[in-house]
Amino acid sequence: MSVSLQLVHAKPNRLTTIVLSWVLFATGIALYFDIAQKRHRENPEDRIMPTIAQMFHGMTNATTNPAEDDEALAENASLRQRFLASMLWKDTVATSRRFTYSILLLIPAVLLGLHMGLFPYVGVFFLRFILFFDKIVALSLLPILFIVFGIDELSKIMLIVIGVTPTIILDTFNLTRGVPNELVVKAFTLGASDFDVAYRVVMRQILPRVLNSIRLNLKAVMLFLFAGEMIASTDGLAFRIALLRRHMGMDVIVPYVLWVALLLFLVDFGMRILNRKLHPWFQEA
C-alpha cells in the first residue's frame, strides 16, 4: 500500500473542522424535532416531547407572566417590568445568589490551602482531617444538614461548602507545594518576610491555576446546589424543574435545562477571560 490514510497525523482543514464539530448538534436537534413531530401527529396532546411552538409558548409564559399567581401585574406593565416579575427571572436570581455565596466561600478555602502548603505547622494540623473530610459523600450529609440547619438557605450553602471546599483546599495545597523551592529561597534571599513569600510570591503564582481548578469544580458546585434546591426550596431554577416534573411541564423544563447550561457556560467563559486578563504571564502547559 503506497497511499495510506493518515490517522494520527491527519490535519483536518478549517471547513472540515467547523462542519464536523457541528454534526452532532445538528443531528441531535433534527432527530428530536422529527420524533416530536411524529408523536404529535399520533397524539396532538403529547407532553413528553414538546414542539418548538409549545416550548416558545411555555417560555413566553415563564418570562412575561408573574411567578406567583397572586402577584397580578397592572394591565399596562412594560415588558421589562413583566420580565423582572417573571418566573424565569426570579428563579435565576435565587439560584445565582446561592451560587455567588458558594463561590465567595471558596476564597477562605483557597487561603487555607495556601497556608497549609507553605507553613508546615498549619499543614500537619489540617491535612489529615481534610483528607478524611474529602471522602465523606456530601449528599449523604443532606438529611443531617436539613435537620441541623433547617431547610432554608444555610443548609443549601453548607452542602456546597462541604461538597466542594475540601477539593479546592487540597488542590490549592498541592499547587502551593508545586511552586519550585528555588523561588521561595530566592524571595528570602531578597529580604522577603514569610508573609511576603506567601502573598506576593506563592499566591500570585498559583492563582491562575487555582482559578482553573475552580472552573473545573463549577459543575460540582451546581450539582450540589441543584440537589439542595430540588429537595427543599421555594424558588430557584432546580426547584422549578422539580416542580414542573409533577405537571409533566416538558415545554418549560427543556428550555430551563438549556438556560442553566448556557449560564454555566457563560460563567466559565467569563472566568477564563478574566484569568487571561489578570495573568498575562501565565503559560498554560
Partner: protein
Amino acid sequence: MALIQIQNLSVAYGTPLRPVLTDINLSIREGEFVCVLGQTGCGKSTLLKMILGAEAPTRGRVLIDGMEHKQPDRTRGYVPQKYSLFPDKTVLENITFGPEVSEFNMFTRLTPRFLRRRRDIREEAMRFIGRIGLHERDARKYPHQLSGGMQQRVAIAQALVTHPRILLMDEAFSALDPGTRKDMQRLIRQLWRDTGVTVLFVTHNTQEAVYLGCRIIVLAKESADAGAQVAMDMSVPEPCHEHQIPVLVHHLEHASGSARGEVPVFATA
C-alpha cells in the same frame, strides 16, 4: 576573619542514611571568587544549600561573618540554574522586588513614602538593566518572553540589587549555549570586580571554573557510598593566561575523576 566558615560539615540524606558530604572544612575570605567543582551528584549543590541555609546540616555548622543563619536571608544572594525569576513579574518588577520587600512590609507599602521610594528603586533597577546589557524596553517583558541567557542576566541583577555580601550561583550558566555562556562569564567577572561581592559558583564544567574562579575547590568521593570531601583546594594565578588553562583543566579533571585521595592537595598561590 573569614566571611564564610564551614566547620566539620557533614550531610546525610534518606533512610538508611546515605552520606553526601563528609567533614568539610573551608574558610572563604571576603571578595573571593570561589568555584566549587565536581562531578554530577557529588554534593556541590548540597554544599551551596548549606551556605544558603535552605537546609540544615546533619553535623557541623556554617558561619557567615561569625554567625549561624538558620534560613536564607539578605546576606546571601542566590542564582539557581532553573526557576531563577518570578514568572508572574515583569523584568522590572523582578528586580525591584528585593528592595521593595526588604524596606517595606505589607502595611508600610500603603504609605506615600513607599510611592516616593519606589521611584528611586525603579531608577536604580533601570540602571542595573542597562548594566547587564538589556534594553530599556525589555523592562516590561515577562521572563517567558526572554531567552535563557537574558533570564539569567536579570536573575543576577535581581540578586545584586539588594547588595548582598555573598552571591551563591548554582550551575547558573549550565543550561545556556556556549556563546551565551561565554558572554555571561564575562559579565559575572565584570560585576564581581565592580562590586567586590564574594561569589561561590557551583559548576561541573572545569573550563568554566578555571576561567571564572580565583580559587577552585574540587569535591570528590573516595568511593560510591562515601560522602564527598574536599579533594583539592587551589588558587588560580591571576591573571590566568590562556595557555595555562588546558594544563589546569587537565590537573583538575584528573583530581575529580580518577582515584581520589592520591592526588596531593596543592595550592599555587
